[in-house]
């Protein structure tokens, strides 16, 4: 049973637009109206203002016996991963219109790939650029790019999938988690799909994926009731042509951007129609759904979203911090349970109450203090000013009392406000 609907005022919906399609408002952005904000967030200028990605070298292949060389390679990999992680965090925090970054972040959790196994920041960056380039467009090109994406091939052993000894890993997860959803295919479909994906290999030196024809299974395959010599591309077309596919994908967007309560059938039908155009259109449709204007449609901010929102509100970039501070920031994110490029499994990150653990509360305070310590807070003077800075219109009596305790210290005031339930949850 849904609670009785209470419609939000325009300013609150505008804040929700910023939080769900971006990473939260910057000071002043809540004064703009609803339709103008939708147009701005989902318009063509999205992406302006972000820093260019770091230049990453491929991790050198070192002989097993060369211990010193292996250590140096491991050090370089770790350095590159740090550069990549904080570049992306800063980019999310500094682009003018962050909807494209927000979608890249969504797709990173959807096609969840982790550097923990890929061991190549360069391949992770290439995948990330694909999310940025294709994430707001139609789903098919993105799905096709992912099924032969080099980082994905390493992550789900696509590299090992060849004629005569198929590896089902990628085929199974594509059907189950990426494009169709469990219950809409059989075990036989998984095996046959794996055959369609044979032959793709990753060249570590160039970072490219290529089809090795001698490894490809050219025989007839029967997938989802259809016969043919399916290739990676025609396999994706086949899967996406199933009516369950669009419903599955818009359901995933809804769960991350709107609510853990699934959309009703009429809403799903409208979103599926928009999905026929592109993901940007799905977001536009979501913005005009009644549920999006309902006060009950709350979400717990994921830790990275919370951090980026704070960086945006306080106009802080991690690139201005020293290495030690950034390392502490990384430890804080890890303590909250979420590091970019390190999803816990191919199923992606948890949601909802899973983020609200006791230990995470403490890590959150550490991170908030680090960020507040690097912000220009001369305009902070009292509880209302910190609400204006973070885009929170009203504090509960509980939070107001907590804030008064540290009112004399602007950095502490901002840190406590950032940890308040009113800021941790997107209302």
């Amino acid at each position: 049973m849904l609670p009785a609907m209470a419609e939000l005022g325009e300013r609150a919906v505008v804040r929700r637009l910023h939080e769900r399609f971006g990473f939260g408002p910057r000071p002043g952005e809540l004064a703009v109206g609803f339709e103008a904000t939708v147009d701005r967030l989902l318009g063509a200028s999205a992406g302006v203002g972000g820093a260019e990605p770091p230049v990453l070298r491929e991790v050198a292949k070192v002989a097993k016996a060369d211990r010193q060389g292996r250590r140096a390679a491991a050090r370089q990999r770790a350095e590159d991963e740090r550069a990549l992680t904080w570049w992306w965090v800063d980019r999310m925090a500094s682009v003018d219109v962050p909807a494209v970054e927000r979608l890249a972040w969504f797709w990173h959790g959807h096609f969840a790939t982790s550097e923990q196994k890929v061991r190549s920041p360069r391949l992770m960056l290439a995948q990330n650029e694909t999310f940025r380039k294709l994430g707001a467009g139609p789903f098919a090109p993105l799905a096709k790019a992912m099924i032969t994406d080099p980082a994905m091939l390493v992550w789900l052993d696509g590299n090992d999938n060849r004629v005569g000894s198929p590896n089902e890993n990628l085929a199974r997860e594509f059907l189950e988690l990426f494009a169709l959803g469990i219950g809409h295919y059989t075990e036989q479909d998984v095996r046959e799909s794996a055959r369609a994906l044979t032959g793709w290999t990753v060249r570590r030196d160039t970072g490219d994926a290529r089809l090795a024809t001698s490894r490809r299974d050219t025989g007839d395959k029967q997938i989802l009731g259809r016969h043919g010599d399916f290739t990676a591309e025609s396999f994706v077309d086949l899967v996406l042509s199933r009516p369950e596919s669009a419903r599955f994908v818009v359901g995933r967007l809804w769960a991350r951007l709107v609510s853990a309560t699934p959309p009703d059938d009429a809403t799903t039908a409208r979103l599926v129609a928009a999905h026929g155009t592109d993901t940007r259109s799905v977001l536009r449709a979501i913005a005009h759904e009644p549920a999006f204007h309902d006060s009950a449609t709350t979400l717990v901010k994921q830790p990275v979203e919370w951090l980026v929102g704070l960086l945006r509100a306080l106009d802080v970039k991690t690139s201005t911090m020293d290495g030690k501070t950034v390392a502490r920031l990384g430890a804080g994110l890890r303590g909250m349970g979420q590091l970019p490029f390190r999803p816990p499994s191919v199923g992606g990150w948890a949601a909802g109450g899973a983020w609200l653990t006791t230990a995470a509360g403490l890590a959150r305070l550490d991170v908030a203090r680090l960020v507040a310590g690097h912000a220009d807070l001369h305009a902070v003077d009292g509880i209302e000013s910190v609400g204006a800075l973070l885009g929170v219109d009203t504090w509960s009596d509980r939070t107001a009392a907590a804030l008064r305790t540290v009112a004399a210290d602007p950095a502490q005031l901002v840190a406590i406000a950032a940890c308040a339930p009113e800021y941790v949850v997107s209302t």
Partner: protein, 415 residues
């Protein structure tokens, strides 16, 4: 919304049987646990089950190693341990050299090894095979875990089973009840005005939106936990993991810091919290490449954590009632692959530890020459093991939890 549709949606929302189930999980606070320990303490004679899940598919043949078997050496010449490298257990088997602590337990008769544990028509997908082990339903998908059904059948009290992982594993989800969850973490609170203000954020506000209320409560729980636990729990590792070898098998989930998880379990058992089943995990066993170093490191971590845990439990009456089960979703292929690793396989050895357990080998070692399409044939059904633990540790009729399954591992536990 119709029930079926909703369940389906939840199943979609991640691999997530686990992620989705967490929505319905009870996140208990420290005060709940302690008041339960005070008002309804754990019976000092009651068995307690601790389930350790190894995510990724641990290579059983390089864990309990048939090092003197020619067929083993031939199938994986570069990956095989030589007879002089392993820790001898008798019957031609030896433990992985990273497991010196468990070898000590074996010698002092504190360790049982059930060999060749699996199930018919094995599935080679991590998520499916893990779901099969956790739901104890190889043939059909069911939404409940085996310990979740045990909760349902024995009074539906979520406190009777506890996960110390951040997200609830499917094995602890029942139809009506999901186990409680209490995460491990570092606990040094800020002091002074800042500490005062932070604590004040934990106060409940009447009528507050549910997630905000939960956020406030998590801060209150944190302060309660610190009052009682002090610095007793471990910090999670805070450095970027510098150990490349350890993470080569990491695409299939699971936690790290097993020692910290088990330390918290020991604390709760000793405190008399009336929880009868705990779930902890260790990830990283998906060793498709360069397996030896990765697996030996992980098994060393497992060995150190289990040995410390068991030594601590021996010191209290309640601790001596604990039985530990260690399993993985599958073993790996007998033959090594081309990259010094192994691909997904089938049956593997399961460890069972504790004072109540009859030590030594149980079940037959699978043949290395009579294979099923390159995979070991299981000799013990994992449901036999579950049934034995349900009856012998949790004192429950297994028929209520595992319908249509009558097998047992004879002699593993007194009934």
């Amino acid at each position: 919304m119709k029930n079926l549709t909703r369940r389906r949606f939840l199943t979609f929302s991640g691999v997530t049987a686990a992620g989705a189930l967490a929505i319905g999980a009870t996140r208990v606070d420290w005060a709940d646990l302690l008041s339960a320990a005070a008002t309804d303490p754990l019976d000092p004679n009651a068995g307690v089950l601790v389930v350790v899940t190894l995510y990724g598919g641990n290579d059983g043949l390089n864990t309990v190693v048939p090092a003197t078997d020619r067929a083993y050496q031939d199938a994986r010449p570069d990956l095989a341990y030589r007879p002089e490298e392993v820790l001898d257990l008798g019957e031609g088997l030896g433990l992985n050299p990273g497991m010196k602590g468990l070898k000590g337990l074996w010698d002092s008769r504190g360790l049982a090894i059930v060999r060749g544990v699996g199930y018919p028509t094995p599935d080679h997908s991590h998520f499916r095979s893990m779901a099969i082990w956790q739901t104890a339903s190889p043939k059909t998908s069911v939404p409940t875990g085996w310990l979740g059904r045990w909760l349902d059948a024995t009074g539906a009290d979520p406190l009777r089973a506890l996960s110390v992982e951040p997200v609830l594993p499917p094995l602890l989800a029942g139809e009506q009840t999901a186990a409680a969850s209490f995460p491990v973490g570092g606990l040094t609170l800020p002091t002074g005005k800042l500490g005062e203000a932070f604590a004040a954020l934990g106060a409940p506000v009447p009528g507050e939106e549910r997630w905000q209320a939960r956020a406030a409560r998590s801060i209150a729980d944190l302060h309660d936990a610190v009052k009682v636990l002090g610095g007793a729990t471990h910090d999670d590792p805070t450095e970027d993991d510098p150990d490349e070898e350890r993470d080569k098998g990491a695409s299939a989930g699971g936690a790290s810091n097993l020692a910290g998880q088990l330390d918290l379990v020991a604390t709760l058992v000793e405190a008399g919290v009336p929880t009868r089943a705990y779930s902890v995990s260790l990830g990283g066993f998906d060793t498709h490449a360069d397996e030896r170093a990765t697996q030996q490191r992980l098994l060393g971590e497992l060995d150190g954590a289990l040995t410390t845990f068991v030594a601590r439990l021996k010191k209290s009456d309640r601790g001596r009632q604990v039985v530990v089960l260690v399993y993985s979703e599958f073993g790996r292929r007998v033959k090594a692959n081309a990259s010094d690793g192994t691909d997904h396989g089938t049956a593997g050895p399961v460890f069972v530890l504790g004072d109540r357990v009859r030590p030594g080998f149980h079940g037959a070692q699978p043949s290395l020459t009579d294979l099923d399409d390159g995979d070991l044939k299981h000799t013990t059904d994992f449901r036999d093991l579950y049934a034995t633990l349900l009856a012998g540790v949790l004192g429950t009729d297994p028929g209520r939890i595992l319908p249509d399954h009558t097998g047992r591992v004879d002699g593993l536990l007194p009934t």
